[in-house]
């Protein structure tokens, strides 16, 4: 028995491209995500439902402005929604991939490892954009939010969104390694998320009402800065007195903190990411 006469032996064939495979993986990830009811409910629909509920509960107009409590909530919930679509979603998704054998199966194929991450990026971007659109649509329909027409605000939105998505994604990927099993991963991801949402002034509004130590803790993490950045896009400047620093939107600082988390998050990922599950040594 010789393999030479087998028709598929020599002729070096073209390697499938990592970028193309990554895009295909993105499609597959999205299909899996939207078919899994739990994930859709908890990571995608929850921020939208919370906005609908809290927005209907919170009453009043902030002094010196025309902003209602519900309108104030909208940009903050966008930030929370993006964090959910990135940090929570990736943390849980990768934790499960490690636990159910997805990573192991992929490692046994010639898939370039970058294709796996590119697939996650595609998924996270699409879900984050859908989340933003969903929350804004709700804000416009229920709470009379008006979308900015001025281009500079949309430029601000874009960079805050991109830096926020990247930073929270890296942190989610890094955090996925913390869970010991697939069962615990949801708890491991949701607890820090809910705590961060509180100390970042997402549910407790306005943010300046937060007790000082909590506000300080929130200011360390990207969520607070993303929320503040989005408020600067969707709310008039007359709301500034309700911010912690009441004189400026602190765009420079926002970019700096989010950028630092992007770099730090990447380093954390590289240091902690495990392709192997616990049984493989």
């Amino acid at each position: 028995m010789s393999t030479v006469d087998s028709p598929r032996q020599p002729a070096p064939l073209k390697d499938p491209s990592a970028t193309v495979l990554g895009l295909h993986r993105g499609v597959l990830e999205l299909k899996s995500f939207f078919r899994e009811w739990d994930q859709v409910v908890f990571t995608f629909a929850l921020p939208i439902v919370l906005l609908a509920l809290l927005g209907s509960l919170f009453q009043g107009v902030y002094e010196g402005s025309t902003v209602t409590a519900a309108q104030y909530l909208v940009p903050s919930m966008i930030a929370a929604g993006v964090a959910s679509a990135t940090f929570v979603n990736l943390g849980i998704g990768i934790g499960l991939d490690r636990d159910d054998g997805t990573l192991k199966r992929l490692r046994g194929t010639p898939m370039p490892r970058s294709a796996y991450f590119l697939g996650k990026v595609v998924m996270v971007l699409v879900i984050s954009i859908a989340e933003v659109v969903g929350i804004l649509a709700l804000g416009v329909l229920l709470f009379d939010v008006t979308l900015p027409t001025d281009a500079t605000r949309w430029v601000t939105f874009s960079w805050v969104f991109l830096l926020g998505v990247v930073a929270c994604s890296f942190l989610g990927i890094a955090a996925s390694s913390l869970a010991r099993t697939g069962r615990s991963v949801s708890a491991v991801m949701n607890l820090p998320y809910v705590v961060l949402a509180f100390v970042s002034g997402i549910f407790y509004t306005p943010v300046s009402a937060l007790p000082e130590p909590l506000a300080r803790l929130g200011a360390v993490f990207p969520l607070k800065w993303m929320a503040q950045g989005f408020r600067s896009v969707f709310l008039p400047d007359t709301i500034l007195p309700q911010e912690i620093v009441s004189t400026s939107w602190e765009h420079g600082r926002t970019a700096l903190v989010l950028g630092a988390w992007c770099v730090g998050g990447l380093i954390l990922c590289l240091a902690t990411f495990r392709w192997r599950g616990r049984r493989e040594r």
Binding site: M1, S2, T3, V4, S6, R8, L13, K14, D15, P16, V20, L21, H24, R25, L28, K31, S32, R35, E36, D97, D100, G101, T102, K104, R105, R107, G108, T109, P110, M111, P112, R276, E280, R281
Partner: protein, 284 residues
Amino acid sequence: MANSPAVRVRGLTKRYGDKVAVDAIDLDIPSGQVFALLGPNGAGKTTTVEILEGYRDRDGGEVSVLGEDPQRAGRRWRYGIGIVLQEASDLSELTVLETVRHFARYYPDPRNPAEVIADVGLTEQARSRVRALSGGQRRRLDVAVGIVGNPRLLFLDEPTTGFDPQARRQFWELIRSVVQERGTTVLLTTHYLEEAEALADRIAILVRGKIVADSTPASLGGRAEAKAVVSWSDNGEERSLESDDPGAVIADLTARYGGTVPGLKVTRPSLEDVYLKLIGSEGP
């Protein structure tokens, strides 16, 4: 390259802490052969196979799989390898067709996904979600994913554990048809003796990390050369004789009894006898 072995292992050793899971084993699997690594649970089969697949690192010895060291081999090496893991619970929300199509994309020269699905008998389930498949169907899907890249070497780790006997037989048919047609080399692990016997050209028995026998199914444990046992009853008393030439013994007896020998029986040790003796003869 033509006739170089698909797998060559010398002195492979793997420890988990103090425990030696694989103890200096040697294996040679020529291209085109179906090789079974047979042994009870905990013998070290998965450990061995996962080292050859590049999943785990070894502690000692030499390993060459398709001419490369799996610990260092790259993406191209994986083009030639198909893997069916002992257990998998991933992919649940995708359909069978989506899954096989997707995995085909990773290879430069894949097989036609629909054809592979037909080969493993899942055409009817092609549009079902993986989570809706039965255990046996899932295993067939794992095989489909393992062979869609058109591998030269296929690893199957306990592919039929938990199957009922009929499903197991069907699965053997599947493996035979998938493998024979293309001359794929196969390394199969199993703890079912009949499975090794049904599928393999060669069987190695692994017990507590050591290879205790390595031969063709027919001559396993010296079975082909083993003496036959001729037994008969002499006035109600059970008598027996071991012999290399049972024919001569029977001729003798026939002459002695002047015709029919009462209760005459000729037996050789069955493969099962040999296997049980081999796995029992090691340790306590």
